[in-house]
Amino acid sequence: MLTKRVIPCLDIRDGRVVKGKRFENLVDVGDPAALAARYSDEGADELVILDISASLQERRPFFEIVRAVAREVAIPLTVGGGIRTIDDITELLHAGADKVTLNTVLVDDPRLLSRAAERVGSQALVASIDATGGRSVRVKSATQETRLDAVEWGRQLVSYGAGELLVTSIDRDGMKSGYDCDLLRALHESVRVPIVASGGAGTKEHILDALEAGNADAVLAASIFHFGEIPIRELKVFLKSRGVAVRI
């Protein structure tokens, strides 16, 4: 049986892991490679690293950091932030990423997913959706509004070739008030690819809710792991005790 995945997320700015609330008020957490190695050892099922300022600064992705993190871990690595072209994607995969996550670029060019799928396969392509006020999609690190509905947008992204959806509630990011299970469930019922829940983890019960009520295939969290509030292993033991299939 396929297990549910627990995924720490490293938001990176200027070479350091940071964490904020609702995409703002960032505080320093540590060195990306060191933190990645720790999470890999503690039983994380996957890592996501996001260059949170690349899109805003219109920079190319952070290849050096990807190489440094990839050397430290023997678990899957998903990389996002500032990806705009097929070359960005193939270069990141060569640097040691296993999947890339695309967001802002897809609003202008959703067909990038189709072109990339021919080259690297859908299993390496994650489409990221940042939603606010329920289902309104925002891009550019949540600074720019769109007229897209998150569920309809998710359906379109999958039809273009996304192999997974990473769904973040902007309103709940860093707020520890629980994931947006309504949005997760609506997407779960609309697409057939795996869904990663993000934004709002504060307790172990929140994570259980995202997996059960929200039907998510994986949960992504940052603050609760970075600040040592919930050790990964302890979380997995809890999930297993509640009947969730996890890798321990």
Partner: protein, 194 residues
């Protein structure tokens, strides 16, 4: 020395990082002459079957792979191309193992099959552990199957035909269990050399 085949459809860094972390000697190359000096060959795989076959053809590696005498390990797509053909783009593959690579039925399970699944070795000795998968096509169970797992349907998680080994999962991304499997392959290559 383990030769890792460099072609466009590979996740090279993941495989070479994993091999280096277990202190295996690694040569990354698309040159058959250089690869033929290695005691074992790994064909990594992230990508799509049509492009992978075209890349192997363009690099004149098809004959080289078909006539290998040293141990060979195909990973994910690198295993799938060992079969006769793939439904992915209806691609003719290497034909070393008989059978057709099929597409998962999205009405029976979520596709891609993405994440850690329990692998059960049915023929050769192996570690029944969770390994990491990421794929939309699969090898049905057949005479070459040595381990299975399920995603709506039971399928080949690992296979062997003579000196050709294949795993559908990514040992280079499967934590300690994956590294132990790679170590086992390297040990096999070394003993073959002697």
């Amino acid at each position: 020395m383990i030769g890792v085949i460099d072609y466009e459809a590979g996740n090279l860094a993941s495989v070479t990082n994993a091999l280096r972390s277990i202190d295996a000697g690694v040569v990354v190359s698309s040159d058959a002459r250089e690869l033929s000096r290695c005691s074992g060959i790994i064909l990594p795989g992230v990508g799509a079957a049509p492009l992978a076959m075209r890349s192997l053809e363009r690099r004149d590696l098809i004959g080289f792979i078909r006539t290998l005498e040293v141990p060979f390990l195909g990973i994910c797509l690198g295993m799938q191309v060992l079969y006769d053909e793939s439904r992915e783009g209806n691609t003719k593959c290497l034909g070393i193992v008989s059978g057709t690579i099929e597409e998962f039925d999205a009405s029976a399970s979520r596709v891609p099959h993405m994440g850690w699944n329990k692998v059960i070795f049915t023929k050769t000795p192996g570690e029944n552990a969770h390994f990491y998968f990421a794929h939309s096509y699969y090898a049905p169970i057949g005479p070459a199957t040595t381990a299975t797992t399920e995603c709506g349907v039971s399928f080949s998680a690992a296979m062997r035909k003579g000196n050709y080994f294949g795993v559908q999962f990514h040992p280079e991304k499967s934590g300690p269990a994956g590294l132990r499997l790679l170590r086992g392959f390297c040990d096999l290559c070394e003993s073959f050399q002697r």
